[in-house]
Amino acid sequence: MCRWRICWRCATPVRITGNNEKRTADGLFGSPSFDLEEFMQRKEVVKRAIHFQNPGRIPAFMFNGDLSRSDIVQVVLEDWYLGEKRDLTEWGFYWDKDENDPAGMGVPRDIFVKEWDQLADYVKNHAPDPFRADRFRNLEGVDVGDRYLMGSLYLTGFTTMTFIRGFENLLVDMLLEPDKVRELADVVFGIENDIIRQMPKYGFDAVALYDDWGTQRAMMVSPEVWREIFKPYYQEQFNLAHELGMEVFLHTCGDVRPILGDFVELGLDMLNLGQLDLNGYDNIRDNYKGKICFVQPINYQTTGILGTKEEIYAEAKLIIDTLGGGEGGLIAELFDYEDMGWKPVSPMNTQYQINAFIDQI
Protein backbone atom coordinates (compact mmCIF):
# COMPACT_ATOMS: atom_id res chain seq x y z
CA MET A 1 0.00 0.00 0.00
CA CYS A 2 1.45 3.31 -0.91
CA ARG A 3 0.98 6.57 0.89
CA TRP A 4 0.93 10.04 -0.55
CA ARG A 5 2.71 12.98 0.94
CA ILE A 6 3.83 16.39 -0.05
CA CYS A 7 7.55 16.94 -0.14
CA TRP A 8 7.88 19.90 2.19
CA ARG A 9 11.04 21.08 0.50
CA CYS A 10 9.55 21.63 -2.94
CA ALA A 11 5.81 21.07 -2.47
CA THR A 12 5.85 18.29 -5.01
CA PRO A 13 3.57 15.30 -4.51
CA VAL A 14 5.66 12.33 -3.47
CA ARG A 15 4.59 8.71 -3.36
CA ILE A 16 6.14 6.65 -0.62
CA THR A 17 6.25 3.12 -1.96
CA GLY A 18 6.57 -0.10 -0.07
CA ASN A 19 10.31 -0.28 -0.69
CA ASN A 20 10.85 3.35 0.31
CA GLU A 21 11.50 4.34 -3.26
CA LYS A 22 10.61 8.00 -3.72
CA ARG A 23 8.89 9.04 -6.89
CA THR A 24 7.46 12.36 -7.90
CA ALA A 25 5.01 13.49 -10.50
CA ASP A 26 7.61 15.09 -12.68
CA GLY A 27 10.35 12.62 -11.90
CA LEU A 28 12.61 15.21 -10.32
CA PHE A 29 13.48 13.00 -7.39
CA GLY A 30 14.39 9.92 -9.32
CA SER A 31 13.54 7.64 -12.12
CA PRO A 32 11.51 6.31 -13.56
CA SER A 33 8.79 8.97 -13.41
CA PHE A 34 5.27 7.69 -13.61
CA ASP A 35 1.86 8.71 -14.80
CA LEU A 36 0.75 12.11 -13.49
CA GLU A 37 -2.85 10.88 -13.34
CA GLU A 38 -1.86 8.64 -10.48
CA PHE A 39 -1.58 11.73 -8.34
CA MET A 40 -4.44 13.32 -6.61
CA GLN A 41 -4.35 17.08 -7.07
CA ARG A 42 -3.78 18.91 -3.85
CA LYS A 43 -7.12 20.66 -4.23
CA GLU A 44 -8.76 17.27 -4.51
CA VAL A 45 -7.03 16.10 -1.34
CA VAL A 46 -8.43 19.10 0.53
CA LYS A 47 -11.92 18.62 -0.86
CA ARG A 48 -11.87 14.95 0.05
CA ALA A 49 -10.79 15.83 3.57
CA ILE A 50 -13.64 18.33 3.87
CA HIS A 51 -16.20 15.80 2.67
CA PHE A 52 -14.80 12.71 4.46
CA GLN A 53 -13.91 10.98 1.20
CA ASN A 54 -10.65 9.32 2.22
CA PRO A 55 -8.01 11.79 1.07
CA GLY A 56 -5.34 9.33 2.20
CA ARG A 57 -3.40 11.94 4.14
CA ILE A 58 -3.97 15.04 6.22
CA PRO A 59 -3.88 18.15 4.04
CA ALA A 60 -1.76 21.05 5.22
CA PHE A 61 -2.90 24.64 5.55
CA MET A 62 0.24 26.68 6.02
CA PHE A 63 -1.01 29.97 7.40
CA ASN A 64 2.23 31.87 6.83
CA GLY A 65 5.90 31.34 6.06
CA ASP A 66 6.87 29.00 3.24
CA LEU A 67 3.53 28.64 1.53
CA SER A 68 4.89 26.18 -1.03
CA ARG A 69 4.34 23.65 1.73
CA SER A 70 0.63 24.25 1.79
CA ASP A 71 -2.22 22.39 0.12
CA ILE A 72 -4.30 25.51 0.64
CA VAL A 73 -3.45 28.97 -0.62
CA GLN A 74 -5.11 31.76 1.30
CA VAL A 75 -5.40 35.22 -0.23
CA VAL A 76 -6.61 38.12 1.89
CA LEU A 77 -9.24 40.23 0.14
CA GLU A 78 -9.61 43.10 2.58
CA ASP A 79 -7.04 45.72 3.57
CA TRP A 80 -6.38 45.76 7.29
CA TYR A 81 -2.87 47.25 7.33
CA LEU A 82 -2.68 50.25 5.04
CA GLY A 83 -0.41 53.28 5.04
CA GLU A 84 3.22 53.87 5.87
CA LYS A 85 2.75 52.65 9.42
CA ARG A 86 0.44 49.83 8.34
CA ASP A 87 -2.04 50.98 10.91
CA LEU A 88 -5.04 52.00 8.78
CA THR A 89 -7.84 49.58 7.97
CA GLU A 90 -10.19 49.48 5.03
CA TRP A 91 -12.97 49.74 7.59
CA GLY A 92 -11.81 53.27 8.32
CA PHE A 93 -10.21 53.01 11.75
CA TYR A 94 -6.57 53.03 12.79
CA TRP A 95 -4.84 50.36 14.85
CA ASP A 96 -3.16 51.49 18.03
CA LYS A 97 -0.17 49.28 17.53
CA ASP A 98 3.34 48.85 18.86
CA GLU A 99 5.75 48.95 15.93
CA ASN A 100 8.13 46.68 17.83
CA ASP A 101 5.52 43.98 18.21
CA PRO A 102 5.11 42.15 14.91
CA ALA A 103 2.79 39.60 16.51
CA GLY A 104 0.42 42.23 17.85
CA MET A 105 -2.55 43.26 15.78
CA GLY A 106 -3.32 46.31 17.89
CA VAL A 107 -6.61 47.72 19.07
CA PRO A 108 -8.83 50.24 17.28
CA ARG A 109 -7.80 53.79 18.11
CA ASP A 110 -11.27 55.27 17.64
CA ILE A 111 -14.83 54.07 17.73
CA PHE A 112 -16.94 55.39 14.87
CA VAL A 113 -20.40 54.62 16.20
CA LYS A 114 -20.31 55.92 19.75
CA GLU A 115 -24.00 56.73 19.41
CA TRP A 116 -26.28 54.80 17.10
CA ASP A 117 -27.26 57.91 15.15
CA GLN A 118 -23.65 58.00 13.86
CA LEU A 119 -24.13 54.75 11.94
CA ALA A 120 -25.45 56.45 8.81
CA ASP A 121 -22.41 58.74 8.75
CA TYR A 122 -20.11 55.74 9.14
CA VAL A 123 -21.75 53.96 6.23
CA LYS A 124 -21.62 57.06 4.05
CA ASN A 125 -18.11 58.26 4.80
CA HIS A 126 -15.97 55.45 6.20
CA ALA A 127 -17.26 51.99 5.35
CA PRO A 128 -15.36 50.02 2.71
CA ASP A 129 -16.47 49.77 -0.90
CA PRO A 130 -16.85 46.05 -1.56
CA PHE A 131 -16.62 46.69 -5.30
CA ARG A 132 -13.40 48.70 -5.34
CA ALA A 133 -11.41 48.02 -8.49
CA ASP A 134 -8.33 46.49 -6.87
CA ARG A 135 -10.22 44.25 -4.45
CA PHE A 136 -8.55 41.10 -5.79
CA ARG A 137 -5.07 42.50 -6.43
CA ASN A 138 -3.47 40.17 -3.87
CA LEU A 139 -4.16 37.30 -6.25
CA GLU A 140 -1.63 38.67 -8.71
CA GLY A 141 1.53 36.61 -8.81
CA VAL A 142 0.16 33.92 -6.51
CA ASP A 143 1.11 30.47 -7.74
CA VAL A 144 -2.01 28.51 -6.94
CA GLY A 145 -1.13 25.55 -9.14
CA ASP A 146 -3.14 22.48 -8.23
CA ARG A 147 -3.95 23.80 -4.77
CA TYR A 148 -7.14 24.78 -3.02
CA LEU A 149 -7.74 28.54 -3.18
CA MET A 150 -9.31 30.27 -0.21
CA GLY A 151 -10.28 33.96 -0.16
CA SER A 152 -10.02 35.42 3.32
CA LEU A 153 -12.07 38.37 4.49
CA TYR A 154 -9.70 38.41 7.48
CA LEU A 155 -11.54 39.68 10.57
CA THR A 156 -15.24 39.41 9.99
CA GLY A 157 -18.79 39.64 11.30
CA PHE A 158 -19.13 40.23 15.02
CA THR A 159 -15.42 40.98 15.48
CA THR A 160 -15.53 43.74 12.88
CA MET A 161 -18.72 45.08 14.45
CA THR A 162 -16.97 45.41 17.82
CA PHE A 163 -14.31 47.57 16.16
CA ILE A 164 -16.95 49.93 14.78
CA ARG A 165 -19.24 50.14 17.81
CA GLY A 166 -16.84 49.25 20.63
CA PHE A 167 -16.59 45.84 22.31
CA GLU A 168 -18.39 46.63 25.55
CA ASN A 169 -21.02 48.76 23.84
CA LEU A 170 -21.88 46.05 21.35
CA LEU A 171 -22.20 43.37 24.00
CA VAL A 172 -24.61 45.52 25.98
CA ASP A 173 -26.53 46.45 22.82
CA MET A 174 -27.19 42.78 22.18
CA LEU A 175 -29.33 42.76 25.30
CA LEU A 176 -30.73 46.25 25.29
CA GLU A 177 -30.89 47.27 21.63
CA PRO A 178 -30.84 44.14 19.48
CA ASP A 179 -32.44 45.89 16.52
CA LYS A 180 -29.56 48.38 16.40
CA VAL A 181 -27.13 45.48 16.45
CA ARG A 182 -28.98 44.03 13.49
CA GLU A 183 -28.68 47.35 11.64
CA LEU A 184 -24.91 47.23 12.07
CA ALA A 185 -24.84 43.54 11.14
CA ASP A 186 -26.74 44.38 7.96
CA VAL A 187 -23.91 46.77 7.07
CA VAL A 188 -20.96 44.53 7.95
CA PHE A 189 -22.31 41.21 6.69
CA GLY A 190 -23.76 43.05 3.68
CA ILE A 191 -20.33 44.34 2.64
CA GLU A 192 -18.79 40.92 3.22
CA ASN A 193 -21.49 39.25 1.14
CA ASP A 194 -20.93 41.69 -1.72
CA ILE A 195 -17.27 40.67 -1.74
CA ILE A 196 -18.21 37.00 -1.62
CA ARG A 197 -20.47 37.46 -4.67
CA GLN A 198 -17.46 38.55 -6.71
CA MET A 199 -15.23 35.66 -5.70
CA PRO A 200 -16.33 32.84 -8.05
CA LYS A 201 -15.07 34.58 -11.18
CA TYR A 202 -11.57 34.54 -9.65
CA GLY A 203 -11.69 30.81 -9.09
CA PHE A 204 -11.94 30.67 -5.32
CA ASP A 205 -12.80 27.35 -3.75
CA ALA A 206 -13.73 28.76 -0.36
CA VAL A 207 -14.34 31.89 1.66
CA ALA A 208 -12.49 32.20 4.98
CA LEU A 209 -14.06 34.07 7.88
CA TYR A 210 -12.34 34.92 11.14
CA ASP A 211 -14.68 35.73 14.01
CA ASP A 212 -14.23 35.12 17.73
CA TRP A 213 -17.06 33.95 19.96
CA GLY A 214 -15.38 32.20 22.86
CA THR A 215 -13.40 33.13 25.91
CA GLN A 216 -11.14 30.77 27.82
CA ARG A 217 -14.06 29.40 29.78
CA ALA A 218 -17.32 30.07 27.96
CA MET A 219 -18.92 31.97 25.14
CA MET A 220 -18.86 35.75 25.23
CA VAL A 221 -22.62 35.93 24.89
CA SER A 222 -25.33 33.46 25.68
CA PRO A 223 -25.99 30.87 22.99
CA GLU A 224 -29.60 32.08 22.90
CA VAL A 225 -28.56 35.64 22.09
CA TRP A 226 -26.11 34.32 19.47
CA ARG A 227 -28.85 32.27 17.84
CA GLU A 228 -31.35 35.09 18.00
CA ILE A 229 -29.14 37.77 16.47
CA PHE A 230 -26.17 36.27 14.64
CA LYS A 231 -27.11 32.80 13.49
CA PRO A 232 -29.40 34.10 10.72
CA TYR A 233 -26.54 36.22 9.34
CA TYR A 234 -24.21 33.22 9.24
CA GLN A 235 -26.95 31.15 7.61
CA GLU A 236 -27.36 33.73 4.87
CA GLN A 237 -23.58 34.03 4.39
CA PHE A 238 -22.94 30.29 4.29
CA ASN A 239 -25.88 29.73 1.94
CA LEU A 240 -24.60 32.45 -0.37
CA ALA A 241 -21.13 30.88 -0.57
CA HIS A 242 -22.62 27.45 -1.20
CA GLU A 243 -24.95 28.74 -3.91
CA LEU A 244 -21.89 30.25 -5.59
CA GLY A 245 -20.10 26.89 -5.48
CA MET A 246 -17.72 27.71 -2.65
CA GLU A 247 -17.09 26.17 0.71
CA VAL A 248 -16.83 28.06 4.00
CA PHE A 249 -14.00 28.15 6.53
CA LEU A 250 -14.71 29.79 9.90
CA HIS A 251 -12.20 30.52 12.65
CA THR A 252 -13.17 31.16 16.21
CA CYS A 253 -11.10 31.26 19.35
CA GLY A 254 -12.12 30.04 22.76
CA ASP A 255 -14.77 27.77 24.20
CA VAL A 256 -17.75 27.65 21.84
CA ARG A 257 -19.18 24.28 22.83
CA PRO A 258 -22.81 25.45 22.98
CA ILE A 259 -22.87 26.49 19.31
CA LEU A 260 -20.79 23.74 17.69
CA GLY A 261 -24.00 21.94 16.76
CA ASP A 262 -25.32 25.13 15.22
CA PHE A 263 -22.30 25.34 12.92
CA VAL A 264 -22.99 21.78 11.77
CA GLU A 265 -26.65 22.65 11.23
CA LEU A 266 -25.66 25.75 9.23
CA GLY A 267 -23.63 23.60 6.87
CA LEU A 268 -20.26 25.07 7.75
CA ASP A 269 -17.60 23.13 5.87
CA MET A 270 -14.39 23.86 7.82
CA LEU A 271 -14.24 24.87 11.46
CA ASN A 272 -10.98 26.25 12.78
CA LEU A 273 -10.98 26.19 16.58
CA GLY A 274 -8.12 28.24 17.94
CA GLN A 275 -8.06 26.05 21.05
CA LEU A 276 -9.46 22.57 20.53
CA ASP A 277 -8.67 21.63 24.12
CA LEU A 278 -11.04 24.29 25.49
CA ASN A 279 -13.89 22.59 23.65
CA GLY A 280 -13.08 19.16 25.05
CA TYR A 281 -11.38 16.47 22.98
CA ASP A 282 -13.96 13.89 24.09
CA ASN A 283 -16.83 16.24 23.29
CA ILE A 284 -15.48 16.89 19.80
CA ARG A 285 -14.79 13.21 19.09
CA ASP A 286 -18.10 11.94 20.46
CA ASN A 287 -20.38 14.59 19.00
CA TYR A 288 -18.80 16.24 15.97
CA LYS A 289 -16.26 13.91 14.38
CA GLY A 290 -17.47 13.05 10.91
CA LYS A 291 -19.99 15.90 10.88
CA ILE A 292 -17.72 18.82 10.11
CA CYS A 293 -14.13 19.11 8.94
CA PHE A 294 -11.80 20.60 11.54
CA VAL A 295 -8.80 22.70 10.55
CA GLN A 296 -6.63 22.33 13.60
CA PRO A 297 -3.30 23.70 14.78
CA ILE A 298 -1.10 22.56 17.59
CA ASN A 299 -2.09 25.02 20.33
CA TYR A 300 -0.01 28.07 19.40
CA GLN A 301 -0.62 29.75 22.74
CA THR A 302 1.08 26.93 24.61
CA THR A 303 2.50 23.67 23.19
CA GLY A 304 3.69 24.91 19.83
CA ILE A 305 5.70 27.73 21.34
CA LEU A 306 6.74 26.37 24.72
CA GLY A 307 6.61 22.62 24.16
CA THR A 308 9.28 20.05 23.46
CA LYS A 309 9.34 17.91 20.35
CA GLU A 310 7.71 15.09 22.31
CA GLU A 311 4.94 17.35 23.58
CA ILE A 312 4.24 18.70 20.11
CA TYR A 313 4.08 15.18 18.69
CA ALA A 314 1.82 14.09 21.54
CA GLU A 315 -0.63 16.91 20.86
CA ALA A 316 -0.66 16.16 17.15
CA LYS A 317 -1.38 12.53 17.96
CA LEU A 318 -4.21 13.57 20.25
CA ILE A 319 -5.71 15.73 17.51
CA ILE A 320 -5.43 12.94 14.94
CA ASP A 321 -6.82 10.36 17.37
CA THR A 322 -9.71 12.71 18.10
CA LEU A 323 -10.57 13.77 14.57
CA GLY A 324 -9.18 11.07 12.34
CA GLY A 325 -6.49 11.26 9.73
CA GLY A 326 -6.50 9.65 6.33
CA GLU A 327 -10.25 9.13 6.18
CA GLY A 328 -10.93 12.87 6.17
CA GLY A 329 -12.33 15.44 8.52
CA LEU A 330 -9.01 16.96 9.52
CA ILE A 331 -6.77 19.57 7.94
CA ALA A 332 -3.59 20.55 9.76
CA GLU A 333 -3.19 24.27 10.27
CA LEU A 334 0.51 25.08 10.41
CA PHE A 335 2.46 28.19 11.27
CA ASP A 336 5.96 29.47 10.82
CA TYR A 337 6.28 30.59 14.42
CA GLU A 338 9.26 32.90 13.92
CA ASP A 339 7.61 34.54 10.96
CA MET A 340 4.54 35.16 13.14
CA GLY A 341 6.82 36.81 15.72
CA TRP A 342 6.03 34.18 18.36
CA LYS A 343 9.58 33.26 19.52
CA PRO A 344 9.34 29.49 20.17
CA VAL A 345 11.65 27.95 22.78
CA SER A 346 13.42 26.02 20.02
CA PRO A 347 13.99 27.15 16.45
CA MET A 348 12.99 23.61 15.49
CA ASN A 349 9.46 23.90 16.85
CA THR A 350 8.01 25.06 13.55
CA GLN A 351 9.44 22.00 11.84
CA TYR A 352 8.40 19.68 14.67
CA GLN A 353 4.84 20.96 14.35
CA ILE A 354 4.81 20.27 10.62
CA ASN A 355 6.43 16.85 10.92
CA ALA A 356 4.21 15.90 13.84
CA PHE A 357 1.22 15.65 11.52
CA ILE A 358 3.08 14.00 8.66
CA ASP A 359 4.84 11.37 10.70
CA GLN A 360 1.74 10.10 12.41
CA ILE A 361 -0.46 9.07 9.52
Binding site: V172, A218, Q301
Partner: protein, 215 residues
Protein backbone atom coordinates in the same frame (compact mmCIF):
# COMPACT_ATOMS: atom_id res chain seq x y z
CA UNK B 1 -32.63 46.97 58.16
CA UNK B 2 -35.04 47.01 55.23
CA UNK B 3 -34.30 43.59 53.82
CA UNK B 4 -37.09 43.73 51.23
CA UNK B 5 -35.77 46.99 49.85
CA UNK B 6 -32.20 45.72 49.70
CA UNK B 7 -33.43 42.66 47.84
CA UNK B 8 -35.25 44.88 45.37
CA UNK B 9 -32.05 46.88 44.81
CA UNK B 10 -30.07 43.68 44.39
CA UNK B 11 -32.56 42.18 41.93
CA UNK B 12 -32.61 45.31 39.82
CA UNK B 13 -28.82 45.60 39.80
CA UNK B 14 -28.61 42.03 38.57
CA UNK B 15 -31.02 42.87 35.77
CA UNK B 16 -29.11 46.02 34.88
CA UNK B 17 -32.05 48.38 35.44
CA UNK B 18 -30.17 51.61 35.99
CA UNK B 19 -33.08 53.97 36.63
CA UNK B 20 -34.89 51.61 38.98
CA UNK B 21 -31.71 51.03 40.96
CA UNK B 22 -31.06 54.76 41.32
CA UNK B 23 -34.64 55.36 42.46
CA UNK B 24 -34.51 52.51 44.97
CA UNK B 25 -31.18 53.68 46.38
CA UNK B 26 -32.58 57.19 46.82
CA UNK B 27 -35.63 55.70 48.50
CA UNK B 28 -33.49 53.59 50.85
CA UNK B 29 -31.46 56.63 51.89
CA UNK B 30 -34.64 58.64 52.48
CA UNK B 31 -35.94 55.84 54.67
CA UNK B 32 -32.83 56.12 56.80
CA UNK B 33 -30.75 53.21 55.52
CA UNK B 34 -27.03 53.88 55.85
CA UNK B 35 -25.04 54.21 52.63
CA UNK B 36 -22.72 51.47 53.90
CA UNK B 37 -25.64 49.06 54.27
CA UNK B 38 -27.06 49.97 50.86
CA UNK B 39 -23.65 49.31 49.38
CA UNK B 40 -23.11 46.05 51.22
CA UNK B 41 -26.58 44.47 51.14
CA UNK B 42 -27.93 46.01 47.96
CA UNK B 43 -25.08 46.49 45.53
CA UNK B 44 -22.20 44.24 46.50
CA UNK B 45 -24.49 41.33 47.30
CA UNK B 46 -25.99 41.76 43.84
CA UNK B 47 -22.60 41.63 42.18
CA UNK B 48 -21.62 38.62 44.27
CA UNK B 49 -24.66 36.84 42.80
CA UNK B 50 -23.71 38.04 39.33
CA UNK B 51 -20.19 36.66 39.85
CA UNK B 52 -21.51 33.26 40.90
CA UNK B 53 -23.98 33.07 38.03
CA UNK B 54 -21.26 34.11 35.58
CA UNK B 55 -18.89 31.51 36.94
CA UNK B 56 -21.57 28.85 36.56
CA UNK B 57 -22.38 29.85 32.96
CA UNK B 58 -25.90 31.00 33.81
CA UNK B 59 -25.15 34.46 32.50
CA UNK B 60 -22.53 35.85 30.13
CA UNK B 61 -20.41 38.95 29.65
CA UNK B 62 -23.19 41.33 28.49
CA UNK B 63 -25.30 40.57 31.56
CA UNK B 64 -22.28 41.23 33.78
CA UNK B 65 -21.62 44.55 32.06
CA UNK B 66 -25.16 45.85 32.42
CA UNK B 67 -25.26 44.81 36.08
CA UNK B 68 -21.92 46.50 36.62
CA UNK B 69 -23.20 49.68 34.97
CA UNK B 70 -26.28 49.68 37.21
CA UNK B 71 -24.10 49.26 40.25
CA UNK B 72 -21.80 52.07 39.21
CA UNK B 73 -24.76 54.39 38.63
CA UNK B 74 -25.87 53.70 42.20
CA UNK B 75 -22.35 54.17 43.50
CA UNK B 76 -22.30 57.69 42.11
CA UNK B 77 -25.12 58.48 44.53
CA UNK B 78 -23.52 56.72 47.49
CA UNK B 79 -19.90 57.68 46.99
CA UNK B 80 -20.00 61.18 48.49
CA UNK B 81 -21.66 59.74 51.58
CA UNK B 82 -19.28 56.89 52.14
CA UNK B 83 -16.55 57.66 54.62
CA UNK B 84 -13.45 57.85 52.46
CA UNK B 85 -12.96 54.46 50.89
CA UNK B 86 -13.13 52.30 53.91
CA UNK B 87 -16.21 50.47 52.79
CA UNK B 88 -14.96 49.89 49.30
CA UNK B 89 -13.06 46.75 48.61
CA UNK B 90 -9.73 48.35 47.78
CA UNK B 91 -8.26 49.76 44.61
CA UNK B 92 -6.67 48.16 41.60
CA UNK B 93 -4.87 49.18 38.47
CA UNK B 94 -5.07 46.81 35.53
CA UNK B 95 -3.48 46.57 32.10
CA UNK B 96 -1.89 44.25 29.59
CA UNK B 97 1.85 43.93 29.86
CA UNK B 98 4.16 45.95 27.64
CA UNK B 99 4.02 44.70 24.06
CA UNK B 100 0.62 43.05 24.44
CA UNK B 101 -2.39 44.53 22.68
CA UNK B 102 -4.88 41.75 23.37
CA UNK B 103 -7.40 43.18 25.75
CA UNK B 104 -10.58 41.13 25.72
CA UNK B 105 -9.63 39.09 28.79
CA UNK B 106 -8.34 42.15 30.58
CA UNK B 107 -11.62 43.96 29.84
CA UNK B 108 -13.60 41.10 31.34
CA UNK B 109 -11.48 41.13 34.48
CA UNK B 110 -11.94 44.90 34.76
CA UNK B 111 -15.69 44.49 34.61
CA UNK B 112 -15.64 41.77 37.26
CA UNK B 113 -13.33 43.73 39.58
CA UNK B 114 -15.56 46.78 39.36
CA UNK B 115 -18.53 44.55 39.89
CA UNK B 116 -16.92 43.22 43.05
CA UNK B 117 -16.78 46.76 44.37
CA UNK B 118 -13.06 47.20 43.78
CA UNK B 119 -12.16 50.66 42.49
CA UNK B 120 -10.40 49.79 39.26
CA UNK B 121 -8.36 51.97 36.94
CA UNK B 122 -7.96 50.43 33.49
CA UNK B 123 -4.61 51.44 32.02
CA UNK B 124 -5.39 49.76 28.69
CA UNK B 125 -2.96 47.77 26.62
CA UNK B 126 0.82 47.78 26.18
CA UNK B 127 1.52 49.19 29.64
CA UNK B 128 5.16 49.65 30.64
CA UNK B 129 6.36 48.86 34.19
CA UNK B 130 6.97 52.58 34.69
CA UNK B 131 3.39 53.42 33.75
CA UNK B 132 2.02 50.65 35.97
CA UNK B 133 3.93 52.04 38.94
CA UNK B 134 3.19 55.70 38.26
CA UNK B 135 -0.54 55.00 38.05
CA UNK B 136 -0.54 52.62 41.00
CA UNK B 137 1.05 55.34 43.11
CA UNK B 138 -1.25 58.10 41.92
CA UNK B 139 -4.37 55.93 42.22
CA UNK B 140 -3.27 54.64 45.63
CA UNK B 141 -3.81 51.11 44.37
CA UNK B 142 -3.60 47.99 46.47
CA UNK B 143 -3.63 45.58 43.55
CA UNK B 144 -1.75 45.56 40.30
CA UNK B 145 -3.38 43.23 37.76
CA UNK B 146 -1.37 42.31 34.69
CA UNK B 147 -2.28 40.12 31.75
CA UNK B 148 -0.42 38.66 28.81
CA UNK B 149 -2.24 36.88 26.04
CA UNK B 150 0.64 35.42 24.12
CA UNK B 151 3.79 33.59 25.10
CA UNK B 152 5.99 36.30 23.64
CA UNK B 153 4.69 39.00 25.93
CA UNK B 154 4.24 36.75 28.96
CA UNK B 155 8.00 36.91 29.38
CA UNK B 156 7.73 40.66 30.03
CA UNK B 157 5.83 40.13 33.29
CA UNK B 158 8.91 39.23 35.38
CA UNK B 159 10.41 42.55 34.25
CA UNK B 160 7.50 44.36 35.88
CA UNK B 161 8.14 42.60 39.19
CA UNK B 162 11.86 43.31 38.96
CA UNK B 163 11.13 46.97 38.30
CA UNK B 164 8.86 47.19 41.36
CA UNK B 165 11.59 45.54 43.43
CA UNK B 166 14.22 47.92 42.09
CA UNK B 167 12.01 50.86 43.01
CA UNK B 168 11.52 49.43 46.50
CA UNK B 169 7.74 49.14 46.22
CA UNK B 170 7.26 45.43 45.57
CA UNK B 171 5.90 44.79 49.07
CA UNK B 172 3.44 47.61 48.75
CA UNK B 173 1.38 46.01 46.01
CA UNK B 174 -0.33 42.68 45.51
CA UNK B 175 0.42 41.65 41.94
CA UNK B 176 -2.07 39.36 40.18
CA UNK B 177 -1.36 37.88 36.77
CA UNK B 178 -3.45 36.17 34.11
CA UNK B 179 -3.90 35.49 30.42
CA UNK B 180 -4.10 32.48 28.12
CA UNK B 181 -0.48 31.27 28.32
CA UNK B 182 -0.05 32.11 32.03
CA UNK B 183 -0.50 29.44 34.68
CA UNK B 184 -0.03 28.78 38.37
CA UNK B 185 3.48 27.43 38.07
CA UNK B 186 4.58 30.48 36.06
CA UNK B 187 3.08 32.65 38.80
CA UNK B 188 5.08 30.83 41.48
CA UNK B 189 8.21 30.81 39.36
CA UNK B 190 8.29 34.59 38.90
CA UNK B 191 7.07 35.40 42.40
CA UNK B 192 3.74 37.06 41.61
CA UNK B 193 1.15 37.07 44.37
CA UNK B 194 -1.69 35.37 42.59
CA UNK B 195 -2.88 33.83 39.35
CA UNK B 196 -6.36 33.34 38.05
CA UNK B 197 -7.55 31.54 34.95
CA UNK B 198 -10.72 33.53 34.40
CA UNK B 199 -12.39 36.84 35.15
CA UNK B 200 -14.82 35.65 37.80
CA UNK B 201 -12.24 33.79 39.84
CA UNK B 202 -9.84 36.73 39.51
CA UNK B 203 -12.38 39.05 41.13
CA UNK B 204 -12.94 36.52 43.89
CA UNK B 205 -9.21 36.09 44.44
CA UNK B 206 -8.70 39.85 44.46
CA UNK B 207 -11.46 40.30 47.04
CA UNK B 208 -10.00 37.55 49.22
CA UNK B 209 -6.49 39.00 49.11
CA UNK B 210 -7.79 42.46 49.88
CA UNK B 211 -9.79 41.08 52.78
CA UNK B 212 -6.62 39.53 54.15
CA UNK B 213 -5.14 43.01 53.98
CA UNK B 214 -7.91 44.50 56.09
CA UNK B 215 -10.48 45.60 53.53
Amino acid sequence: MNIALYKQISDNVQKGRVNQVKNLVEQALKEGCSPEDVLEYGLISAMDCVGIRFKNYHIFVPEVIIASRAMNAALEILEPMLIQDTKRRGRAVIGTIEGDFHDIGKNLVTIMLKGAGIDTLDLGTNVSPERFLKNAEEFRADLVCVSASITTTMTNIPGLLRYFEKEGVRGKYTVLIGGAPVNESFCREIGADGYSSNAASCAKLAAELLKQNGF
